[in-house]
């Protein structure tokens, strides 16, 4: 009987334990953040390059086409009401408030998060983290915190680039391809949007950056130190980030709207 209970409840218990361990890990990361910023700034720059600068191409290509398809869909449906000029408003609101932050976070998880998780997992599997400790190098400062901070800095910047390129894509499709008046497109867009709308997108991108970076670093750090374990950690990074980002997106929107 107790065995049955244990088997039923152990996944739930495991989930709660995992969550607690992750929270403690976050506290550790934050504890070493100030000293890493002052002593290991170069490492953070290197990680911004890895996670951010190297993701810029995929972000721009995806942004261009997402913006373009938004322009197409908005135009096709607004045309029925003779309101093609509002294409810009629709595309801009969708991009700035929802699609920009969410898709950037998902792309970041796929492009950079997996790399972080497998890198850290492999370091753990090959005992590099333990070796650092033996050499009196703190792996927190040397490996984990720079990757965490690099992700946090990169995601909001990537989101801004994605949104800007997306607007450009919407402009190309709506104005150049479908013939919406360029003045109407931008003027209506500027009149409809407030600075608060842009802030909402920025707040989301910052939160998603923290969540995506934390999950990637955590999954790598907590990976089972085998080849299979590292593979599973990589998968779990993408799944966990996608779920967390989409749930948080709903919660932030509900709170800010």
């Amino acid at each position: 009987m107790t065995r049955l209970l244990r088997e039923v409840f152990s996944p739930a218990l495991e989930f709660v334990r995992n969550f607690g361990a992750m929270a403690l890990f976050l506290v550790q990361l934050l504890r070493y953040t100030p000293s890493t910023i002052f002593r290991r700034f170069g490492l953070i720059v290197g990680q911004v390059y890895n996670a951010g600068a190297l993701s810029i191409v995929i972000i721009m290509v995806c942004g261009l086409f997402v913006g373009g398809v938004l322009g197409l869909q908005a135009f096709a449906n607004l045309e029925r009401f003779n309101a093609e000029e509002a294409t810009g408003i629709l595309a801009a609101f969708a991009l700035v408030k929802e699609i920009g932050p969410v898709i950037t976070a998902l792309l970041f998880a796929g492009r950079a998060g997996t790399a972080l998780a497998s890198e850290i997992g492999l370091m753990k599997a090959t005992d590099q983290l333990s070796a650092m400790e033996v050499m009196a190098v703190n792996p927190m400062q040397r490996v984990l915190v720079p990757r965490f901070l690099g992700g946090i800095i990169s995601v909001p910047l990537l989101t801004a680039v994605f949104t800007m390129v997306g607007l450009l894509g919407a402009h190309l499709v709506a104005v150049e391809l479908l013939g919406v008046d360029v003045g109407a497109f931008w003027q209506q867009l500027q009149q409809a949007m407030d600075v608060e709308d842009v802030y909402e997108g920025i707040i989301k991108s910052v939160v998603f950056g923290i969540v995506a970076s934390l999950l990637a670093v955590w999954e790598g750090y907590s990976a089972v130190p085998t080849a299979e374990g590292v593979g599973r950690a990589t998968t779990r990074t993408v799944v966990a980030t996608a779920i967390a980002v989409l749930i948080l997106d709903f919660m932030i929107t509900a709170y800010l709207i």
């Binding site: 170069g42 720059v45 290197g46 911004v48 390059y49 951010g52 600068a53 190297l54 810029i56 801009a92 700035v96 800095i153 990169s154 909001p156 910047l157 990537l158 801004a160 680039v161 949104t163 800007m164 607007l167 867009l189 500027q190 009149q191 409809a192 949007m193 407030d194 600075v195 709308d197 842009v198 997108g201 920025i202």
Partner: protein
């Protein structure tokens, strides 16, 4: 060392691009003409009913935006809505007997304040009040009146 330099330049370019994009989003996609960084003066107008007028709504004269609504409050003593308008100082020759009315842009557009010039020699200035105002047209009231009238016609 070489490689390090390339990384730093790449990161720098990325960060600059990101900040540039943020700047673009906050300045180019949001409503300009908010008169927050030009010289302005503030006037008040009292309305019986402001309808669905919102703060930041434009104040227009001859169809050109010359200011914004910055505050809408209810005066409990006179039972009227007090609307605060901010007008660009370049337009300092608006007669003080001008007429302010709440209009709607298009059939389903948002509401704005339209000023109709008066004939006075005294101009509006900081703190003055627009005395002649016309309330927003509330569609429900209009329909109500129309129904009542058409009902009485049949008698």
């Amino acid at each position: 060392m070489r490689q390090n330099l390339a990384v730093e330049i790449g990161t720098g370019l990325f960060v600059l691009l990101g900040i540039g994009a943020l700047f673009f989003l906050t300045t180019q996609t949001t409503g300009r003409n908010d008169f927050s960084n030009t010289d302005t003066y503030t006037v008040e107008a009292r309305f019986e009913n402001v309808g669905s007028l919102k703060t930041r709504a434009p104040v227009a004269m001859s169809g050109v935006t010359i200011g914004r609504v910055t505050g809408i409050e209810f005066d409990g003593a006179s039972l009227e809505a007090v609307v605060t308008l901010v007008i660009d100082s370049r337009f300092d020759q608006i007669p003080d007997d001008s007429d302010a009315s709440i209009l709607t842009a298009g059939l389903l557009g948002s509401q704005y304040i339209g000023l109709q010039a008066g004939g006075s020699e005294i101009y509006l200035e900081e703190g003055s009040e627009i005395l002649f105002t016309q309330s927003a047209i509330v569609l429900e009231n209009l329909i109500g009146k129309f129904l009542v009238n058409s009902g009485s016609d049949e008698e």
